[in-house]
Symmetry: C2
Subunit: 206 residues, 2 copies
DNA sequence: CGAAGGTGAGAACGTTCGTTCTCGCTCGCG
DNA sequence: CGCGAGCGAGAACGAACGTTCTCACCTTCG
């Protein structure tokens, strides 16, 4: 079969696929995954069940695709925050918490998709649990890169990651974005204390 | 199944009620709430559906009872940790993270019930979301009492709470208890920095 | 024009959900 | 001893789940 002759359908399916992912993400995020059936997704997206199952062979497959998309968005937000952090790795680390503060302010904020999904499906869907674990490990690794640039010990990265995770759940449950500012203040203290200690006791670069 | 004593109603119903709550807690915690039907609870607990609905008029009612019981257990763990913390409020605060480290080591640890339940049901069950919010607020208030005793500014309590929440989710997803030690180290830094600051500048009220 | 194949709307399938009901059975008490 | 109330086991119920199928309708192309 000539592969390029059907090129009229191909670009549109990619848009439909993205539209489905956006709709599914919104529904899953706001109501939980088990509470959103394929019929609800069909009604909200306007895409027929036939095409839904054509693009995503099962609900679990769709959930994974939604998580993959969220992972890309998260990574993009992180890199944007780091890029806007003015120069020093210390400021870049703190810019992550500024990004969190803006996110928490969004109307439909309801916590971290990965944490929520882990609580709901982590115990019964090992594949999804592994995906979530890898995503969080990747975030911690990115923080560790920045921490290494500051010259502070690697343990600081774990502490900063815990602050970010705690801020997300605290903000979600409390319904306010105070947690982002508290986490930023705590991060500032932890970073500056670690820098002062590593400066008096020489270890790495600079 | 109970072979020996066929005691009459009231004293035994309390035991049965507790037995149901323990079984439901274990199942909900390990698999998620939506994934555990009343039939599974009947099979695992050995209690007939008739008695289940006699003691808990609906599944949502049962879920609330499980959360209430977990709240009491949590409060008891917190108070025990504080009591074993040797003397100073600083040590009492740090003892909370030692308690977390022991909890994370348990085989079936899968994060904080309240965070998991909020992710799964918080978007569709406002009553349960409110219960979770009140529980977390109560924990923060207890931390604030101890922080006030140290003389540090009240903002420290929020930072310590964020560390505790972040440690729970991080430990659950990573599958290790490292997060408890990282959170304890971070808490130590934050407390001591706050104490040093408030000692040199003794204005602590807000 | 007519055959082939893909489409959307939605019915249908088998399962599972939360909840209620049926029906023998047991047992305290008159 | 008999009787009525409470019990466990499990069937039954309507709804909702994930998934598949039907069928009338469009294109597209020989």
């Amino acid at each position: 079969m000539p592969p390029a002759t059907r090129n009229r359908t191909t670009p549109q399916t990619e848009q439909i696929r993205e539209h489905i992912l956006i709709t599914a993400d919104r529904l899953y995020y706001s109501r939980g995954i088990n509470a959103v059936g394929m019929d609800a997704l069909r009604n909200e997206s306007g895409v027929s069940l036939k095409r839904l199952y054509q693009l995503f062979p099962s609900k679990e497959n769709l959930v994974e695709a939604v998580l993959h998309r969220r992972r890309d968005i998260w990574n993009s937000l992180i890199e944007t925050a780091i890029a806007t952090g003015s120069g020093t790795p210390r400021d870049q680390l703190l810019a992550v918490y500024d990004m969190l503060a803006r996110w928490f302010d969004e109307d439909d904020f309801r916590g971290c998709v990965f944490i929520n999904t882990f609580g709901e499906l982590g115990g019964t869907a090992p594949h999804i649990a592994a995906l979530i674990r890898e995503h969080k490990a990747s975030f911690q690794a990115r923080l560790a890169e920045l921490v290494t640039e500051t010259g502070a010990p690697a343990a600081l990265a774990h502490q900063l990651a815990i602050l970010a995770e705690g801020a997300q759940t605290t903000a979600a449950i409390a319904g306010t974005n105070d947690a982002a500012h508290h986490a930023r203040a705590a991060a500032t203290t932890l970073i500056d204390t670690a820098l002062a200690a590593s400066r008096s006791k020489p270890t790495t670069t600079r």
